[in-house]
């Protein structure tokens, strides 16, 4: 099966004139879309191109004030894709009957090769397209009876008949026109009576998420960093032109589709990266934005340093936006594993610390027909090579920096809690002389740990570290002031407490005085030992 399909694709790629058999048509259309929801992408791509073409001439028609938009709705078992773009002309309609025929200009428009226009035949009983262009008084209708064609091909195959594609397609398609207002310009695609096995196409939530993820849409107003990213993309990516796409939910609500990012996802401030052409200085091959998850640190959202994740039940669901994704004309090419596979050779997990997009600027880079990768050519080789030199090292360094900063803060925070505790104890006169040695050692250890986290690049975290150090030094100074500690250990009081008779008391006093003399240079040590003896005697005799 695979070789059969490859052969068909080869034909498609090499020759826009139809050269293959009818039996290949359903195979081709079905094989192209392993995930049937990808069929929608084809029509959004065509609609997006139609809007771009309309925008090129719309200034000449000032009376037309319609907002260029793509609207998707579900009715019964049909998915409808409407755009008020350039529309089709009388010459365009018969071309729909020719598989693999396209006049789209590679490098200028998102879709090409002409297969996408018939993508719907892979998933539905019928494909109906209605279109008109500005100034044309005709509304053109095209119908492809896909289920009938599949049955016809199957019946013929049983009889050993293998017809060429064109006559079969013509037999199962119909084109006609009706009158329309010449000022109208739009296209409506109806993918009618979608197969039960492809019912994800009829689920509005699935469509919203899918289109937001792969489509040429803008950032949601609910993602405050979106405006900045959009502004940068507008400036650096010549063909960046997000489209207005609406989707009607079954409950009658019409929602605008945006990229999937929102403030709820807790995303840190985005960063940007240019991937330039070394052989043509100044020319961009691609432009990338990226960001990690964030958590609130010192009153500000800062990169948190872990695999990028969002709300969700299963791990896979939570990590669905982890990693970067290639974009071409605003559409995703491949999924988030493609940059991982093509750019990262080591520390791949660090690639997942970030979410973001790599917008390909070089027009010589073209997507494969299923949009799972780019066509293997010199432009792709150059893109991957240069992106490999830039993206992983920068992201790895940033990941390290995020990690260092996060650890610096976490450690400083823990140490600060400890210092605060000692400070409070001191203020309440609650530190025993016998505890001094341990506390001082602990302070020294904390200072050493603070010292190892000096390389933070975050100035505010650095300032916080200094603040913690100063607090520790204050505590340290106070510990050296006997007035701030609990009164010292008394041999007489202990002897009294143990109710010793004269002789043991004398012996006890001699021992303790000897110890006191012995540790005269290290009183903290003496107090610690005295406390231990005191405790042992109390446990035994009181």
């Amino acid at each position: 099966m695979a070789s059969e399909v490859d052969e068909v694709k080869q034909n498609v790629a090499e020759d826009s004139e139809e050269l293959f058999y009818a039996a290949a048509v359903p195979i081709l259309s079905e094989d192209l879309y392993p995930r049937k929801i990808e069929v929608i992408r084809e029509y959004i791509q065509n609609a997006s191109d139609a809007l771009d073409d309309w925008l090129k001439i719309s200034d000449l028609i000032p009376s037309d004030r319609t907002e260029p938009q793509i609207k998707i709705s579900i009715q019964g078992k049909s998915v409808l894709i409407f755009d008020n773009g350039i529309g089709m002309t009388e010459e365009d309609i018969p071309k729909l009957q020719r598989i693999a025929y396209s006049e789209k200009k590679v490098g200028e428009e998102a879709g090409y090769k002409g297969i996408g226009r018939l993508a719907g035949i892979a998933v539905a009983e019928k494909l109906k397209i209605t279109s008109t262009s500005y100034g044309d008084p005709k509304l053109y209708h095209f119908e492809f009876r896909a289920a009938d064609m599949r049955k016809d091909i199957s019946d013929k195959k049983k009889q050993g008949i293998n017809e060429q594609a064109t006559p079969v397609i013509k037999r199962h398609t119909k084109t006609w026109w009706t009158d329309i207002d010449p000022a109208d310009h739009y296209t409506l695609v109806e993918i009618r009576n979608i197969k039960d096995s492809c019912d994800e196409l009829l689920d509005s939530d699935t469509l919203i998420e899918y289109i937001g993820d792969i489509g040429p849409v803008d950032f949601s107003p609910e993602f405050k960093e979106g405006a900045l990213i959009s502004e940068n993309l507008q400036r650096h990516v010549p063909d960046y032109s997000p489209k207005t796409i609406y989707l009607s939910r079954p409950d009658g609500k019409k929602v605008r589709v945006y990229k999937p990012y929102s403030d709820e996802m807790k995303i840190a401030a985005p960063r940007f990266m240019e991937i330039s052409d070394p052989t043509n200085a100044g020319e961009l091959l691609a432009y990338c934005w990226y960001a990690s998850n964030a958590e609130e640190i010192l009153g500000k959202m800062r990169p948190s340093g872990k695999i990028f994740q969002v709300e969700g039940e299963a791990v896979e669901e939570r990590r669905r936006f982890a990693g970067l994704v290639y974009k071409l004309f605003g559409f995703s090419v491949g999924d988030r594993s493609l940059p991982e596979r093509t750019l990262w050779t080591t520390a791949v997990v660090r690639a997942k610390w970030f979410t973001g997009e790599i917008h390909v600027v070089d027009k010589n880079v073209q997507p494969t027909t299923p949009r799972s990768d780019f066509i293997e050519n010199a432009a792709r080789v150059k893109l991957y090579a240069e992106a490999q030199k830039r993206i992983p090292p920068i992201l790895k360094n940033l990941a390290q920096e995020i990690s260092d900063n996060r650890k610096a803060f976490t450690d400083a925070k823990t140490i600060r809690q400890k210092f605060d505790k000692y400070k409070t104890q001191l203020e309440n006169g609650g530190i025993e002389r016998s505890d001094l040695k341990v506390i001082k050692e602990d302070l020294d250890k904390s200072f050493r740990k603070l010292g190892t986290r000096k390389n933070t690049t975050d100035k505010e975290i650095g300032a916080y570290q200094k603040e913690v150090r100063r607090l520790g030094e204050t505590v340290q100074t106070a510990l050296n002031d006997p007035k701030k500690l609990k009164p010292g250990y008394s041999i007489t009081d202990l002897a009294k407490e143990l109710d010793m008779s004269t002789k043991p008391r004398k012996v006890f006093q001699i021992i303790m005085e000897t110890l006191q003399q012995h540790f005269s240079q290290d009183k903290d040590e003496y107090h610690e030992i005295a406390e231990k003896i005191h405790k042992a005697l109390k446990d035994k005799y009181v």
Binding site: K71, S73, Q75, G76, K77, S78, L80, F82, E90, I93, P94, K128, T130, K138, Y140, H141, T175, W176, W177, T178, D179, D184, Y186, L188, E190, R192, N193, Y246, S248, R249, G252, K253, K254
Partner: protein, 299 residues
């Protein structure tokens, strides 16, 4: 490529425009005010959805039924062009089948209940299999299940003259109903007179249809706990030389009533509603004037 003339059987004309834009619209506006919320619409608007577009200020969501695939596709197009596609809920199949079976060809159901029902169908009320009356009755039953008051607009073709038996039976029932409410048998004579007037083969069918449609609507509505208020039927020239008849009826659900509802509008008032005729941009004196039934005690 060939050109195709679109089905024009549902195209509008000045009389139809007048009813939609002025007569119906005023009633719908009042109905919307009475219910205090945008109306959910159920109907057969044809692909141009002229009624939905005209009344969209009063309508929220609308369910349409279309039996022609190409017409349904054009309806999708129209909805998108008019920017109401998100409010459209389109069912595919025969109206009667959908109402009687509860589902369309693809297994989708109407979104019961509705506050405005507009059935503008090309064809008459009575067919040999009585599927249309059964479907209308089912619609009223469904509304009753949800205890939902609604405005019921029906437009149909005047072409039922051939189904004599059903109508004759209906008129006999009507006579019996009227007489059963009048204890003084001496007053039964005017009832018989008016029934025989309607039975007269020379009487134009629109007069009969006016009476029996309103009578049926009232009868079915009352049985399902609705207080039914009929209006005079309106006849007007349709597209392509046919004559159409138009009914607008209020169905107000009476909750907490265990028995059949007696509408505020009496049967006598219903019989005397008569008929209006619309032509062009307004009403004109109708040629079909039915006798009024007057029941007063004889001196």
């Amino acid at each position: 490529m060939r050109s195709t003339k679109l089905d024009t059987s549902f195209d509008s004309n000045p009389s139809k425009d007048f009813l939609r834009r002025e007569y119906d619209k005023a009633i719908i506006s009042q109905w919307r005010a009475e219910l205090g919320k945008p109306l959910k619409y159920f109907g057969l608007p044809a692909w141009k959805m002229l009624d939905v577009i005209e009344w969209q200020g009063f309508i929220d969501r609308f369910t349409t039924i279309e039996r022609e695939e190409d017409q349904q596709h054009l309806m999708f197009l129209k909805a998108n062009v008019e920017n109401v596609e998100h409010r459209l809920h389109s069912l595919y199949g025969e109206f009667d089948d959908i109402l009687l079976n509860g589902r369309d060809t693809f297994g989708h159901r109407p979104e019961w209940p509705y506050e405005l029902v507009n059935l503008d169908y090309f064809g008459g009320f009575i067919y040999a299999d009585l599927s249309r009356p059964k479907a209308l009755r089912k619609l009223i039953e469904n509304q009753a299940i949800y205890e939902q008051s609604f405005l019921f607009i029906i437009t149909q073709q005047l072409r039922d003259g051939d189904i004599k038996k059903e109508k004759s039976g209906f008129l006999k029932d009507l006579g019996r109903s009227l007489k059963s409410g009048i204890l003084d048998t001496a007053l039964h004579a005017p009832v018989d007179e008016i029934v025989s007037w309607y039975e007269d083969a020379d009487i134009p069918d629109c007069a009969r249809q006016t009476l029996y449609m309103n009578y049926f609507l009232r009868d079915w509505g009352e049985a399902e706990h609705f207080d039914v208020a009929c209006r005079p039927a309106i006849i007007y020239p349709g597209t392509g030389g046919s004559w159409m008849i138009h009914f607008v009826t209020d169905f107000r659900f009476q909750s907490g009533v265990g028995h059949r509802v007696a509408s505020n509008q009496s049967l006598l008032e219903l019989i005397n509603l008569g008929l209006l005729e619309a032509r062009g941009k307004g009403f004109v004196p109708t040629r079909f004037v039915q006798p009024k039934l007057s029941i007063r005690k004889r001196k």
